[in-house]
Point group: C2
Chain length 414, copies 2
């Protein structure tokens, strides 16, 4: 009498399913090492599990990859106190874009001198407050913004943000006008530290990065020789890729390109690099639960207790389905073969018809109350969530750092 | 030396500019009546200005339009205490989708019996809590969900949510299986109140609405005659259009179609209708300030102190530019001709390159610190905002109700 639950045929093993298998093994090992099942049982769902050690490891990895650069953590990706403390303990600097982010640093007793204020557009009151707190490096990209620094503390310096391929871009002065803007600042008694250029990991090839960095260096050199800018800093900006599998091939190629241009200039040149997504993403996973199931037009739908208005909000821009594993499949002994996978629609917690997380996602057989785990969800997840439909944002469970005892150190003042 | 600010040619008067002119006159009158300039001066920006009288007016208007229906306000659009109090005072019911929304009603001392819990997917704990609080009407659309009502208070009744054109829809049992689902409930001792169908204002013609309502009535009649459902309720769901200009032609046509089918059945049939966007949208305007300006690729950019991660978050789905007026142009005496308009790019407060609110929007000449006003921003704005980049959500200034003294009344228990 009731429409039977359709039993779709399992997905045949294929490339993406093989990739899922290795991801599953990695996650199963990790879940065991942090006793994830017990955490979820104790704290319920939805739940983020944040691992400060992964922040530290990832930050150290970038230190090896970019030994010529002073690394800053860009708070926007995941401005969590535990992350701030971990970066500070590792000697990292910070990249902030708002008064609120500066307040978070102050709350963790990180000196403002460790931060670059990188938002190119600021209210004068925000500049005054940041300068008074001790920020010494700001970013600007247009004359109206440079004028806001007239009369600000004379030890403050500007990085001029430049773009080289920026048709329709929201920020950056085009390279042809960058020198004019730097000269405008200096002629008005505002100091220029150098130039800032953003790596757009999605679009920039290593070869193009090399060109762009050479052109930025040329701006610094010409500015110093011809216009007495006194520039000593090149800011690589943010935007490095987040992937951390397969040897980070793309990331390594970008880093090598930067090294070819910038290492020969050390130590006379200060190179800055902001890390956001690439440090935060692998440090947090989401545990979410199946709370409802239905068969619609022959497709199996799983409804979760989190969604596109919550912890998956970052997917709206990324347009790619997240990896999902059931806690139950991870708890199987290692010698049990992987479960059969079925194509499913996974929907979020709200009544919004657009709150669909993924369609045709391969998942094992699931029941109501099964817990799903989504790794690599540390960046642009929590921070983009709203309280839509009066649902609270997902809580964060912070793992005890297994390394904290070994770490100490001052914060790198930029 | 500095790149000159481009002076684009004013936009020639045309149809959209004429529409802007009438909108400007209406807003200027309204701004004068509520002393908007003084509010903005006192409270700063960004600021929402919420007018409970507009909620009451709009709710009363729908009462005239749908005299055969009991109206519920769907909290999801704008779950503000002042809105809840206004609807309750007008005798309206409520449509809730979460434990959090029920708590907001309780906080305003609205009895839970005035609410329909319309989310088709719920955790058993949410059902138990809502039933214990006094909710008597719930929505379900699949067998797994109906089963969750086994053992719940016997006075609780279900609305079966149906869809008639729902390929790929996230909710609703297709019409061919709706009777089976209702019988499954009744056979298990769970009472069925009737059927629920959502008006999709963007896609549904009045003619199609009429068909859909006739089919829903047929489900009720056949269910009662053949399967002893005991159904007495047809739920129109939400989704009515929000426009309120030009006599609401589309809205009136939909209401007339519903009346043709449903009025002949009064008073033996309880008709419910949920109002969200259409009540909330016109009741709130946003005041936001120009904090930065730049010329990029020949286009003038205005950067605001609010944006797509804040109060404009609802635009992400709507994909239409909001109307924007400068406070300065509204304060001009009525006999001053409208200002020349220029095409501008309007960008938000974050460093996200996707945070562009509108391109080629016709705006008068603006300077830094000019305040822009965006009317009709009451629905799906505040509720979709995040705290991205540690920026607080926009505050809400609630106008004193000029009508409150005349209003009183009990809440309509559904």
């Amino acid at each position: 009498m009731i429409e039977p639950l359709v039993s779709p045929r399992p997905i045949a093993p294929s490339q993406p399913v093989d990739a899922r298998r290795s991801g599953r093994e990695e996650l199963a090992l990790y879940a065991g090492s942090i006793a994830l099942a017990a955490i979820v049982k104790r704290s319920g769902t939805p739940l983020f599990v944040l691992d400060p050690d992964r922040i530290a490891e990832r930050f150290a990895y970038f230190g090896e990859l970019l030994p010529f650069a002073r690394l800053r953590y860009a708070l926007a990706a995941l401005p969590h106190p535990a992350v701030i403390r971990t970066i500070a303990a590792a000697g990292g600097g910070f990249d902030v874009v708002s008064t609120g982010e500066l307040a978070m640093l102050a709350h963790e007793e990180v000196p403002a001198s460790a931060a670059v204020y990188s938002h190119p557009i600021k209210r004068p009151a925000a500049i005054a407050a940041a300068a008074a707190a001790g920020v010494r490096l700001f970013v600007a990209d247009n004359p109206a913004e440079v004028r806001k620094f007239l009369g600000v503390d004379a030890s403050v310096r500007l990085l001029i943000r430049v773009h080289f391929d920026g048709d329709g871009a929201s920020f950056g002065v085009d390279a042809a006008h960058a020198m004019n803007l730097a000269r405008f600042a200096v002629n008005n008694g505002i100091r220029v530290a150098g130039f800032s250029v953003h790596v757009d990991a999605d679009r920039m090839s290593p070869r193009r990065l090399e060109q762009v960095l050479r052109e930025t260096l040329r701006l610094i050199d010409e500015g110093n020789a011809r216009w007495r800018l006194g520039a000593d800093t090149l800011d690589l900006g943010g935007g490095l890729p987040a992937e951390h599998e397969a040897g980070d091939a793309r990331l390594r190629a970008l880093a090598a390109a930067a090294a070819r241009v910038l290492e020969p200039r050390a130590p006379a040149l200060t190179v800055l690099a902001a890390l956001g997504r690439c440090v935060a993403a692998p440090a947090m996973l989401l545990a979410t639960r199946v709370v409802g199931q239905a068969t619609r037009d022959g497709a199996v739908w799983h409804y979760l207790d989190d969604g596109m208005h919550g912890s998956f909000a970052g997917l709206r821009d990324a347009a790619s389905a997240p990896a999902m594993f059931s806690l139950r499949e991870l708890l199987e002994p290692g010698d049990v073969p992987p479960p059969a996978l079925y194509p499913c629609t996974v929907a979020g917690a709200s009544t919004d018809g657009l709150d669909v997380i993924a369609r045709d996602l391969p998942l094992p057989s699931l029941g109501i109350d099964d817990v799903l785990l989504c790794p690599n969800l540390g960046a642009y997840s929590l921070v983009l969530a709203s309280n839509f439909e009066a649902v609270r944002r997902t809580r964060v469970h912070v793992l005890h750092s297994r390394r904290a005892a070994q770490r100490s150190g001052a914060v790198d003042a930029l």
